[in-house]
């Protein structure tokens, strides 16, 4: 799967499938501090991402990193 991150903008490719929780743990990100967005809408925390997914991880703290 393609994971797009911000501040700075960068892309990381992961093998799928993977849960949101596992993905955020791999990236060492706090769920309180980010949203996961796919196709312009929110991805719930219990969703399973597949190898074909393209997701954005958006920091919600103004100035925060993701």
């Amino acid at each position: 799967m393609q994971v797009n991150l911000r501040n700075p903008n960068r892309t990381i490719i992961f093998e799928g499938p993977m849960s949101i929780v596992a993905l955020l743990q791999k990236l060492d990100l706090n769920r309180e501090s980010v949203l996961v967005i796919r196709g312009g809408t929110l991805v719930p925390g219990d969703a399973l991402l597949t190898a074909d997914d393209v997701v954005e991880i958006r920091p919600v703290i103004s100035g925060g990193v993701a």
């Binding site: 911000r6 501040n7 706090n30 769920r31 309180e32 501090s33 980010v34 949203l35 967005i37 312009g40 809408t41 929110l42 991805v43 719930p44 925390g45 219990d46 958006r58 920091p59 919600v60 703290i61 103004s62 100035g63 925060g64």
Partner: protein, 317 residues
């Protein structure tokens, strides 16, 4: 994950409420929590005119959208701070938001109308950029609200903002600041009422609201604020929140309910009528001959525009 209300698939979990919501019920929750804050703290009433301070970020654009959805009369004011490409992109977001919805947006460009920008003011005054930025915004929002006959200025400060400010003030026991940290600052002579209707909503919820409402906002933070203490406080509080959901809300609302009154004696002695005079330049009440904003204008007059750098890298491009 099912919506707590309708049992349809949820799109977001809010751990401090121990609940999940579908898109529609999440949007309703956000509006309901905003209305609850407006009512609980007596911010304003239907029929009053609100000036929303909009920056192009998620909180202020969401606030404007929510107030309109709730039926309030709310216009926007954007101040172009002259922070290079960041300000250009922020202004574009605000203008697009207003144009798409046919909203009334007032705009001020510091460089065009007052002859300076924030990077130049920071260089001239040799203080952090946030100092000149805050001073400029406070003065100009106050002035616009009074001249426009607005009943209140609304800002997009959310629960995370307020908890982080409280955290910082508590770390240093800044009692004067603690005494006046409240979601409403009443109007006083020369100054409009100021309100923060988003204090019951977290930063993550505001970002989610924008995504679900299709509100484009500037995700990048002001380059001059990167690495500041406030962001560090938010990250620290989120680390606590991750293991103790609801900690931020308990911290801030517990302070309002049980602690703020204890600092009343430390409240700034807002000038009594006899202690102030009108600024000789602009007329706002001030304890000195010239107010802080007009002193800033005086110091920046004729200064060559500068570009701020951090570790040798331009931060305002």
């Amino acid at each position: 994950m099912k919506c707590k209300v309708c049992r349809e698939p949820a799109v977001i979990d809010i751990r401090r409420h121990n609940a999940n919501f579908c898109g529609d019920h999440f949007l309703k929750l956000v509006r309901d929590q905003t209305q609850k804050a407006i009512d609980e703290f007596k911010m304003f009433a239907p029929g009053e005119r609100i000036l929303v301070a909009v920056s192009g970020g998620k909180d202020s654009l969401a606030l404007w959208d929510i107030l309109l959805e709730l039926g309030y009369e709310a216009n926007g004011l954007y101040i172009g701070l002259g922070i290079g490409g960041y300000s250009d992109r922020s202004g574009d977001q605000v203008r697009a938001f207003a144009a798409e919805r046919g909203l009334k947006l007032e705009q001020i460009e510091l460089r065009d109308q007052y002859g300076y920008d924030v990077p130049t003011a920071a260089a001239v005054t040799k203080r952090v950029p946030c100092s000149a930025c805050g001073l400029s915004k406070r003065h100009l929002f106050d002035k616009a609200a009074l001249q426009g006959g607005y009943d209140a200025v609304a800002t997009g400060h959310n629960l995370d903002d307020e908890a982080a400010v409280l955290f910082g003030n508590t770390l240093r026991w800044q009692t004067e600041y603690l005494a006046r940290q409240h979601p409403v600052l009443p109007a006083r002579p020369g100054f409009p009422r100021k309100v923060k209707p988003l204090v019951r909503l977290g930063e993550r919820e505001m970002a989610a609201y924008c995504v679900l409402r299709g509100i484009d906002y500037i995700v990048e933070e002001c380059p001059m604020a990167v690495g500041n203490k406030h962001i560090g406080y938010k990250e620290a509080l989120n680390a606590i929140e991750a293991t103790s959901p609801g900690a931020k809300q308990a911290f801030y609302f517990g302070f309002l309910a049980r602690a703020v009154e204890r600092f009343a004696d430390a409240a700034p002695a807002y000038a009594e009528a006899g202690d102030t005079a009108a600024c000789t330049r602009c007329g706002v009440p001030t304890t000195s001959e010239i107010c802080a904003f007009c002193r800033l204008l005086e110091r920046t007059a004729g200064a060559e525009p500068v570009h701020l750098t951090i570790k040798g890298k331009r931060v305002d491009a």
